[in-house]
């Protein structure tokens, strides 16, 4: 049987399939009886140094082949996270599932503070820096669209942390490869590609946006071609591992990201349509590799003939 394990820097995942931040809460929300021990990894909902309210509803809207969300990073804050959520994450670690904590902040200092606050927490394998959330009025997106700011927040977090720092890039840029290079140089251990595309949906009769914030982040199959292209561009430009995501629903989708340069993949929106997606992707990968006599799945990473 194929060896599905992959290395994301110093972190070894037993398979390349993770749940994406914001689509499975802090773990206990894993839905539909999905067995977390099947997962290669799990990324928590974003955590800030203080609790955040998030946006007023409506927070989601369905669009052709995708969905918009503007949750606004409602989160319990660092303290409650350590107290209430970490125990469950420990169980995941025991189940040999990589745990990454998605980190958010409004200032460089806040990112740094979360990283520091998570020091010594053994339940966690890595931080994933969300510098690309389009759903808050301040912060977030600004870091994600400017190379200098992105490098700065990365460096500050790396400095504060005792764990590898993955940086999640925004697709709302002209040149995502430069962003990747900038944060790699600033000390990122891996790159998560991509967060959501900024989009809008409206209620024609009421002549107002469907989301209370006005706009939101587009995810799901609709964005897969953009995500695949960016995964390829970033993995070509950078030498640290890439975690690919955007519209993955099947093993075939996931394998396409790996061929385009992703060492591992994350699954987000598809969890809502089918809570068992991640397990099915792991199974499908196994079969696909077995049928083709692929010994280690890591062999296929970045093998695209382009």
């Amino acid at each position: 049987m194929t060896d599905l394990s992959v290395r994301i820097g110093d972190v070894v995942a037993k398979n390349p399939v993770m749940l994406a931040s914001g689509t499975a809460g802090y773990g206990p929300e894993l839905s539909g009886g999905l067995d977390m021990s099947r997962l290669g990894g799990f990324v928590t909902k974003g955590i800030a140094v203080h609790p955040w309210e998030g946006n007023a509803p409506p927070r989601i809207a369905e669009t052709p082949g995708g969905m918009l969300n503007a949750i606004g990073l409602q989160n319990v804050g660092l303290e409650a996270f350590l107290e209430d959520k970490v125990p469950y994450l420990n169980r995941m670690r025991t189940a040999d599932t990589v745990v990454a904590v998605n980190v958010i902040g409004k200032t460089v200092q806040e990112y740094h503070d979360v990283a520091k606050g998570l020091r010594g927490c053994d339940a966690i394998d890595a931080l994933e820096l969300n510098i690309s959330c389009p759903n808050i009025k301040e912060g977030g997106i600004a870091f994600g669209t400017d190379c200098v700011a992105a490098a700065e927040v990365t460096a500050a977090t790396v400095e504060g942390s005792d764990k590898p720092v993955w940086v999640k890039l925004s697709p709302n840029v002209a040149d995502i490869a430069s962003m990747g290079v900038a944060v790699e140089e600033a000390g990122a251990a891996a790159l998560s590609v991509i967060n959501t595309l900024l989009g809008m949906a409206i209620d024609l009769e009421k002549r107002r946006p469907l989301l209370s914030l006005g706009w939101g982040g587009l995810s799901g199959p609709a964005i897969k071609p953009v995500a695949l292209r960016m995964t390829w561009q970033v993995s070509q430009a950078c030498s640290i591992p890439v975690l690919g995501m955007g519209g993955i629903r099947s093993a075939k989708d996931a394998l396409e990201f790996m061929v385009c340069g992703a060492t591992a993949v994350q699954i987000g929106t598809a969890n809502f349509a089918n809570p068992n997606t991640a397990a099915e992707v792991v199974d499908g990968m196994t079969t696909w590799c077995d049928e083709r006599g692929i010994e280690r799945i890591s062999e296929i990473v970045g093998t695209l003939n382009a």
Partner: protein, 281 residues
């Protein structure tokens, strides 16, 4: 070559993945040269659907449960096409339930339109628990919607405890369910339960408040996952909005918005803000 509609005459499976389609279409068949081709729309262009849709369980009998729904959009319209024997992926049961009344309390059940199903479920549960002291006020716009009454009609066809109301007076009481309730009057210990449009829930909550009647409402927010994972289904915490400065300061901002799929869909009516800025019906 104008675009045309061809009628399928036959679609024969020839085995090995090979199929034969025969169409009738005078427009196209009229003047064809050997080697020409057609462009077939394999399906009409449509909205791809990703997210599941939440529906209350109206009734359970043995291993059968039922759902009452209104065709209002993409998902529900597709549901109308489900065929007997189809297998449908369903996640549930999800969410919390109504609190049972004390034995001395009259349970008042108020349901509007496709908000009636949870009231049917509650009436069934009350009966099962031997709590026969309940009254249901169920309302729709008019005779056109009377299908919404099916849950009560089937089990309590001529029961005095069920009062049907229509806005146009075509069936039962003329007016909304709160008016129907007040029409009969509130006497003795009472506990209210409601599900329906936001404007109705607000009226129920106000009335319950005025009469000091404990009240629970089931809210129908937009839901992405139904299990607490996406944080989309929120409703505002009244304590956060209306509490004084000190009260709010003592709360975490995280608790301003409550997840309806996990903490709800049933909430004490005074715990939440029954106002979504007009976003929902």
């Amino acid at each position: 070559m104008p675009d045309s509609r061809s009628t399928v005459l036959e679609n024969r499976d020839l085995g090995g993945g090979v199929w034969l389609l025969r169409f009738r279409d005078p427009t196209i068949a009229d003047d064809v040269g050997p080697g020409q081709f057609v462009m077939i729309a394999c399906s009409p262009p449509y909205e791809p659907l990703l997210l599941r849709r939440p529906f209350s369980i109206q009734r359970v009998e043995g291993d059968v449960y039922e759902v009452l729904y209104r065709d209002v959009g993409k998902g529900t319209h597709r549901m109308t096409k489900m065929q007997v024997g189809d297998e449908v992926q369903v996640l549930g049961p999800l969410g919390n339930s109504f609190t049972m009344p004390r034995p001395d309390e009259t349970a008042v059940l108020l349901g509007g339109g496709v908000g009636i199903p949870p009231m049917v479920a509650l009436a069934d549960a009350l009966e099962a628990a031997g709590h026969t002291r309940w009254a249901a006020y169920v309302g729709v716009s008019g005779i056109v919607d009377e299908g919404c009454f099916v849950g009560f009609d089937e089990r309590w066809p001529n029961d005095d405890r069920v009062r049907r109301a229509t806005m146009d007076g075509s069936i039962g009481f003329e007016g909304h369910v709160v008016a129907a309730w007040l029409d009969r009057g509130i006497t003795g210990p009472t506990r209210a339960y409601a599900c329906g449009p936001m404007v109705m829930l607000r009226a129920v909550a106000d009335t319950a408040g005025t009469h000091d009647v404990p009240c629970e409402v089931s809210v129908e927010t937009m839901m992405g996952c139904g299990v607490g994972a996406c944080m989309s289904c929120v409703i505002e915490n009244r304590a956060y909005r209306d509490g004084d400065e000190a009260a709010r300061k003592s709360m975490s901002p995280y608790d301003r918005w409550l997840l309806a799929c996990r903490k709800g869909p049933v909430f004490p009516s005074d715990r939440i803000v029954l106002d979504d800025g007009g976003f929902l019906h």
